[in-house]
């Protein structure tokens, strides 16, 4: 085959070259030795990554548990480099936030015309499922490697799963999917309805609660979080009679917080509204929206870019990223590390109030007013128009926020409106509003045009008709979903 080799072999002088051949054999042996250790030659270190075997221990399980909490943080109020997290995107879709930048994909969300290719939609979907998967993996690892660990740790992982499943159910259309990775192997989920998602979430919440038998601080925190979450899920399932009792006993002052810091995750609401100005607090968005920015409600304190209040919290710009005005800036979370209570006792009371209202129990108003308390009215000139006067409510000494007491509107619709307005303000910015608007349609018989922003969109064109998020196109890579998307786009 190799002519020159063949020619060389035919030479008759080989015998005289035995010493040379020996040297050659040594060289060949060295080469052969090198060949034997090829695997060693190609062996590389990968210090940046953690092998799956490294989490197969109690410490590993604990680290994965913390990872689940971190990912829940990213998915909701913390965001990531790719996404602002669900809370903001949800509020943008509803009436909490207006778009203030040039990204078409964000504008789609604001305008309620979301395409399945929308990258922000896809990114936030990934963030949510990452938190859920981490919770699942942590449950498996904790049960295997830390069976005698604190019950609250394990219960909290069920909380993470249930919380994400609830958020997904509240925001996405029927046809949503929960896949998993178990023992390193992917298992693709089947499309299910939002109703099925809520039932799955309820099951996980129940599993978590069943673990809480003690009374440590951690037990109380996780237990209360699970109770409030159960109540929320039961409302989503249109079981208000069960929801109220589910949250009884949760202290009104209770808070389950996402913590933010200078070095882990920023508070994304602060980052995208107060700093980047890609979001601006809405007011009466699309006609139906609540007047978050202009209500002068102490539950949603808002300043206008450029005014003294904004300057006091470090917001010096008066316009949004797209140079439009006004820029409305929330003042609930005014620093990078401001914690966000993703579940709290106020929500428990609101759940109880709704349960009471649905049961025609007049104490619903008392429950709501218990969250508000005495105080006084005051007036001051309007910051934008000195010819006008703003009336402000100043909190008194008691209650949670010191708000003016509510009065019964006197009609069924009015009561519902009042209840959901209270929910809107109390729970502002924390991923409740889309679920509430959908429940208004689904459970209270409202039409989408009367609850979602409608009509002229503030940047031109018209609001669309979406009442939920579509299944991201990326989910088409799930063989169980290929060719399908939303089963329907109903609320």
């Amino acid at each position: 085959m190799i002519f020159s080799m063949h020619a060389a072999l035919c030479r008759p002088r080989l015998r005289r070259m035995l010493p040379t051949l020996r040297r050659a054999a040594l060289a060949a042996g060295s080469l052969a030795l090198a060949a034997c250790s090829v695997s060693d030659i190609l062996q590389v270190d990968t210090p940046d990554i953690i092998q799956p075997s490294d989490v197969q221990s109690a410490a590993g399980a604990d680290a994965v548990r913390l990872g689940a909490i971190a990912r829940l943080n990213f998915a909701t109020s913390g965001g990531s480099s790719d996404s602002e997290g669900l809370f903001l995107l949800s509020g943008l879709f509803a009436d909490e936030w207006n778009n203030g930048d040039s990204f078409i994909a964000r504008q789609e969300v604001d305008e309620r015309v979301i395409t399945p290719q929308n990258n922000f939609l896809t990114d936030v979907d990934r963030l949510l499922h990452r938190a859920r998967l981490s919770g699942m993996q942590a449950v498996q690892l904790l049960r295997q490697y830390k069976p005698n660990g604190p019950a609250a740790d394990l219960a909290e992982m069920y909380f993470v799963q249930a919380y994400v499943e609830t958020l997904v159910g509240e925001h996405y259309c029927d046809g949503l999917v929960f896949s998993t990775v178990q023992d390193g192997v992917e298992h693709y989920g089947q499309p299910i309805t939002t109703q099925a998602a809520f039932e799955l979430a309820l099951a996980h919440a129940d599993s978590g609660l069943a673990l809480i038998t003690g009374s440590t601080a951690a037990d109380q925190k996780v237990g209360n979080a699970l109770r409030v979450l159960r109540g929320r899920i039961l409302l989503d399932l249109d079981r208000p009679a069960d929801a109220g009792p589910a949250v009884s006993g949760v202290p009104t002052a209770f808070q389950y917080q996402n913590l933010h810091s200078q070095t882990t995750t920023d508070n994304a609401i602060w980052a995208y509204n107060n700093v980047a100005r890609r979001y601006s607090v809405s007011t009466r968005e699309g006609g139906n929206g609540l007047d978050f920015a202009t209500a002068n409600d102490p539950r949603v304190p808002v300043c206008t870019g450029g005014d003294a209040a904004c300057r006091a919290i470090g917001v010096t710009r008066s316009d949004r990223d797209d140079n439009t005005r006004p820029l409305y800036v929330q003042m609930i979370w005014t620093t990078r590390d401001a914690p966000v209570a993703i579940v709290n006792g106020v929500e428990a009371r609101l759940i109880e109030a709704e349960s009471q209202l649905r049961a025609n129990d007049p104490s619903w108003l008392t429950t709501l007013n218990a969250l508000r308390t005495d105080g006084t009215f005051d007036t001051r000139p309007n910051a934008q128009d000195p010819t006008k006067t703003d009336t402000l409510w100043h909190a008194g000494s008691g209650g949670v926020a010191g708000l003016k007491p509510l009065t019964d509107p006197g009609t069924a619709d009015g009561r519902v409106d009042l209840l959901f307005r209270e929910r809107g303000f109390w729970l502002f910015g924390r991923g409740h509003r889309v679920g509430d608007l959908r429940r208004l349609i689904r459970q209270y018989g409202r039409s989408p045009e009367t609850v979602f922003p409608t009509g002229d969109w503030h940047k031109g064109g018209q609001y669309g008709t979406d009442v939920n998020f579509p299944i991201p196109q990326a989910e088409q890579n799930n063989p169980n979903v290929a060719g399908q998307g939303c089963m329907n786009r109903n609320a």
């Binding site: 020159s4 020619a7 051949l21 090829v38 990968t46 990554i49 953690i50 994965v64 200078q262 940047k459």
Partner: protein, 1031 residues
């Protein structure tokens, strides 16, 4: 299995070694030498650096500066001696060597028009061009540098070789993006690999760990063109097979300059030049209405006029680039001083080079900002006043040491110390220069929130923007040791060892109370200091045996092993919250640190057999096998075969003798090569993160990547067919090539469904198949060749058809709102819902959208459609050269055309969609098309940007140069020197024709596979004076 395969290859190599040593012990015949002189037949002047070799052996040498040569250790007997030199026709003669005697053979070479070297470098060593079955592109770097305004590698490569797309950067220190024969990879890099003096070197684009927008450095631009003798472009797998895994996107082989034996020759050169931004930037418009003020955004748009919502009181336009008070563009300056020394003896030749370069970009502090600073008693720091700057010191030594008539060693070592400052520009949003110039309000005296006049800038002006100081410091050394040993006349052994080491320090600093005030804690100061070491080791060993099997058949067998190891080792540190005066991370209130390290190793072996029949038919067959650390656990070894045939048909006796035809060659090459996956693409893993809990910060683990145990390299096969001809006494040279490249097992970055919850959004799978095909042509002609006057032209062109043949069952990959990978269409094509038509139905001169199709004045397709290629399909470069005044004065010019593609005018999109200052939104004289695309992006539910994806065809006046070579006596008389050359050159003299309406169809960053113009600068125009003095 894997070990066995590689073991077999090594065993074959060992066998060859055995044979070599066997023959080493054989009794050697008596030897003599061949000596002589090589001169130019027309002038009688000596020809230096000509390659003189004994045909059928590995024996040869180079002529010295007097054209003299001596080849020692030649077996006694009759030999054919061959001389090769670029610019001259090949010559042969016969020498009869007598033991212990020197045979003398002199050569007088005939100059020819071709600029192609008769010798090319292949993976197995140097070969005559006619013996190689591929067309290998060549760049005469030394000549290009001496006669044109070449500032970097991008300038050196652009438009000089068919099939090579080069996107030069638009700022000083910006990177260069190179694509050869189209795009092959959906998910991996489409960059070629680079070899310098036999050693693999780092050539990544986007090489920075801090962001300044779309402009980033590329490591290939660390190389100094002054140090380069020649560049060869190995275009595809058919030629790159033996370069192994990673070579499928082509190989750029760089040879640095070498010394020529003779007395020391010292050359001093200097470059002095300036550059300006002559691009036309778009006007900003504003539609004034009742309520509009200098500090608000209240406007009246055309569609609002049509709807009766407002009346335009007036429309103003303003272009700050055209206003001397407001423009950030000034005069850039470039200077360089260099010294080269070469010389030596037959035993030791050397080349030494040292150079200092300094280039300042065109950005300056606008006049209005200068006034502001002066009025407030403020001053910018020097580095802030000129935020775009390159400073470089480079040195290289090349030593060719002849240890014995049978052994030689080449030592090459180079060092580069470089600092590049890049401003926040391109896509840097509110913090960037371009984001603020493109986004202006359409009038001059707009006000900031604090009441300062912004002179048409959007939010911030350079006095704030330039305070973000970004610097990249590079310390780089590329060294190689090449050893040759010819134990027998028929056997040569070659070894290479080399290291490319780069130390990169990226820093970004924003001092306390500096930089744009975007609110929050944006002015508390920060510092980023990221330090990265890159190591690329190369170790090669080859053995080549030459044997004449019969009087007409010669065999050359080569076997070799190659080992490459690449290490990326980075430490990242940053600090936020600097006290006044602090510039160090140590002073920051909040510190973060991290590290990253990846490594890749490849071990390959190859065997090649080359047969030459009657020195006119050449057949080469070979195979290479590779193993790589990044392959999946279930994949072991990649095999790449090759077969090439070159036939000089015109040398056959039956071929008709035509007076006008000198040589006709047919060639064919088939080969395979690969692209390796990333170091951890095959692995399943978790990554660490941190979280803040009630008891403080804690480390956490999150599931990241699924991995793929079956991962293997992408495999590209290529068939290349070509015909070369030389005509009319070598005055016309033509190369015509057709290629078909098919990449199978293409690594598809398969999008994972979000519901899976993995950290990685994709997993690499070998699913895809991509096909590239096209034509390449190279024509050089000496139209007039007289003593006093010469006229030569060059034309190189290429076409490329790209198609994603298969995605392996994966649904179409939607990369973004404008790009998709779909079967049957090119990679990285532009996709969007198409703006099908527009019609001013109501005749009011304004295009409007209405949800009712009967009323709406725009029609948009229901689904996304393919709009066009994102990369040029057709490239053509035309050069013209005139030599006058006894050929001492040469005028050269280059024009190039690129077309068949679309460019996304994303700048205009954002101006229309959200900056609210484009013509189509406001200007009543805007064309209906401008209005239609604006309405589509703002009001149609699709928000389609299709109207902004424009034809990208252009013709550019790329180069103009005038070179004067003084008579020797002038140099001698003026400064007692040997030579004097002066060149005046200009680069990028402008676009002569284009359909593109944006700033420039090459105005974009230098990374990615589908660039778009997004708030980017256009390329500047360079004017350079270069003077070279020889001593």
């Amino acid at each position: 299995m894997r070990s066995q395969s590689v073991g077999r290859a090594l065993a074959q190599a060992a066998l060859l070694g055995v044979l070599a040593v066997c023959r080493l012990g054989a009794q050697e015949p008596q030897q003599g030498s061949i000596t002589g002189r090589v001169t130019d037949a027309a002038t009688g002047q000596p020809v230096a650096a000509a390659q003189v070799s004994v045909v059928g052996t590995g024996v040869g040498t180079l002529t010295n500066d007097q054209g003299q040569y001596t080849i020692r250790g030649v077996n006694a007997g009759r030999h054919v001696v061959r001389v090769l030199r670029v610019g001259y026709a090949e010559r042969r003669d016969t020498a009869v060597v007598t033991a212990g005697q020197a045979a003398t053979v002199n050569f007088a070479l005939q100059a020819v028009a071709t600029t192609l070297s008769p010798v090319v470098t292949t993976a197995t060593g140097e070969q005559r061009r006619v013996e190689v079955g591929n067309a290998i592109g060549q760049v005469d770097a030394a000549k290009a540098v001496a006669t044109t305004a070449v500032a970097n590698m991008g300038d050196l490569l652009v438009a000089r070789t068919p099939g090579v797309m080069v996107f030069p950067g638009t700022q000083t220190g910006a990177g260069t993006r190179v694509r050869i024969r189209g795009l092959s990879s959906l998910s991996l890099s489409n960059n070629p690999i680079y070899i310098v003096d036999g050693v693999r070197v780092e050539g990544t684009t986007g090489s920075s760990s801090v962001s300044v927008g779309g402009t980033t450095p590329a490591r290939i631009n660390d190389l100094n063109p002054e140090e380069i003798e020649s560049i060869e472009v190995v275009r595809g797998p058919s030629a790159a097979t033996l370069y192994g895994t990673d070579a499928a996107n082509g190989v750029i082989v760089i040879k640095t300059k070498r010394g020529v034996a003779g007395r020391p020759r010292l050359t001093y050169f200097t470059e002095q030049g300036f550059h300006v931004d002559q691009n036309q930037y778009p006007d900003a418009y504003r539609g004034w209405r009742s309520g509009s003020t200098a500090s608000n955004t209240v406007q009246c748009f055309l569609t609002q006029v049509a709807a009766g919502a407002c009346t335009q009181d007036s429309v103003t336009k303003y272009n700050l680039y055209d206003d001397p008070e407001a423009t950030p563009n000034g005069l850039g300056y470039r200077q360089a001083h260099g010294l080269q020394v070469s010389g030596g003896s037959e035993a030791l030749r050397y080349f030494l080079h040292g150079e200092w370069e300094d280039e300042t970009g065109v950005l300056k502090i606008p006049e209005f900002d200068q006034r502001y600073l002066a009025a407030h008693g403020l001053a910018m720091r020097p580095e802030e006043a000129h935020p775009n700057h390159l400073g470089r010191i480079s040195a290289r030594g090349q030593f060719n040491i002849v240890l014995s008539p049978k052994a030689s060693v080449d030592v090459s070592t180079g060092y580069t110390s470089q600092n590049v400052r890049l401003p926040m520009s391109d896509d840097s949003g509110v913090l960037g220069v371009a984001g603020n110039t493109y986004g202006g309000p359409g009038f001059k005296y707009n006000l900031s929130p604090t009441g300062d006049t912004l002179f048409g800038w959007r939010q911030f002006t350079p006095r704030d923007i330039y305070q973000t100081f970004t610097n990249q410091a590079i310390q780089r050394s590329i060294s190689s040791l090449n050893g040759d040993w010819r134990p027998m006349e028929w056997l040569s052994l070659h070894g290479t060892f080399g290291l490319d080491y780069i130390n990169r320090t990226d820093t970004q600093l924003c001092r306390f109370a500096n930089c744009p005030d975007i609110g929050g804690d944006s002015r508390i100061g920060f510092k980023i200091d990221n330090r990265t070491n890159f190591f690329t080791y190369t170790a090669n060993a080859t053995a080549a045996a030459t044997h004449r099997l019969s009087p007409v058949l010669e065999s050359n067998t080569t076997a070799g092993v190659q080992y490459t190891r690449s290490i990326f080792d980075a430490n990242y540190a940053s600090g936020v919250g600097l006290p006044p005066g602090a510039v160090s991370i140590s002073a920051a209130a909040t510190l973060t640190a991290s590290e990253s390290r990846t490594e890749s190793r490849t071990l390959g072996g190859f065997l090649e057999e080359h047969l030459a029949f009657r020195d006119r038919l050449f057949v080469t067959a070979g195979v290479r096998s590779d193993r790589n650390s990044a392959f999946g656990a279930n994949f072991k070894t990649a095999f790449y075969p090759k077969l090439a045939v070159s036939w000089v048909a015109s040398d056959e006796s039956f071929f008709p003798r035509l007076g006008w035809l000198d040589q006709l060659r047919l060639r064919m090459a088939y080969g395979a090569s690969g692209v390796q996956p990333g170091p951890t693409d095959a692995v399943q893993f978790y990554t660490a993160t941190r979280t803040l809990g009630e008891s403080g910060e804690a480390t956490a683990l999150v599931f990241s990547a699924l991995g793929n145990r079956n991962l293997k390299p992408e495999r590209s096969t290529e068939l290349e067919l070509g015909i070369d001809g030389t005509f009319w006494s070598n005055r016309l040279n033509v190369e015509l090539t057709h290629y078909t490249k098919s990449s199978k097992d293409a690594l598809v970055s398969r999008v994972l469904p979000p519901s899976l919850g993995t950290g990685s959004t994709v997993r690499f799978e070998n699913l895809g198949k991509v096909r590239n095909s096209g034509w390449e042509a190279l024509i050089t002609a000496q139209l007039i060749q007289r003593d006093g006057f010469g006229w030569d032209i060059g034309l190189n062109g290429s076409t490329n058809d790209n198609e994603l043949v298969s995605l392996g069952g994966v649904p179409p990959i939607v990369l973004s709102s404008t790009q998709q990978h779909r079967e049957g269409y090119p990679l990285y094509g532009w996709w969007a819902r198409e703006l099908l038509s527009w019609n001013d139905k109501n005749g009011n001169g304004i295009i409007e959208y209405n949800a009712d199709p009967a009323v709406s004045e725009i029609v948009v397709s229901d689904t996304a459609r393919f709009l066009g290629y994102s990369n040029p399909r057709w490239i053509l470069a035309f050069t013209n050269g005139f030599d006058v005044w006894k050929r001492r004065l040469r005028l050269g010019a280059m024009f190039d055309y690129q077309g068949g593609h679309k460019v996304y005018n994303n700048t205009e999109r954002i101006r229309c969609a959200s900056r609210n200052n484009c013509s189509g939104l406001i200007n009543p004289n805007a064309s209906l098309f401008e209005q239609a695309r604006t309405v589509a992006v703002r009001q149609h539910p699709s928000r389609t940007v299709a109207g902004f994806i424009e034809d990208g065809d252009f013709i550019r006046f790329r180069e103009l140069n005038l070179t004067f070579t003084a008579p020797e006596e002038w140099a001698n008389r003026v400064f007692r020197g040997r030579s004097l050359t002066a060149t005046v050159a200009a680069r990028n003299l402008g676009i002569l024709w284009t359909k593109y309406t944006g700033v420039d169809p090459e105005a974009f960053g230098t990374t990615g596979n589908a660039p778009s113009e997004f708030q980017a600068f256009g390329p500047p125009t360079y004017y350079v004076l270069r003077v070279s003095l020889g001593f």
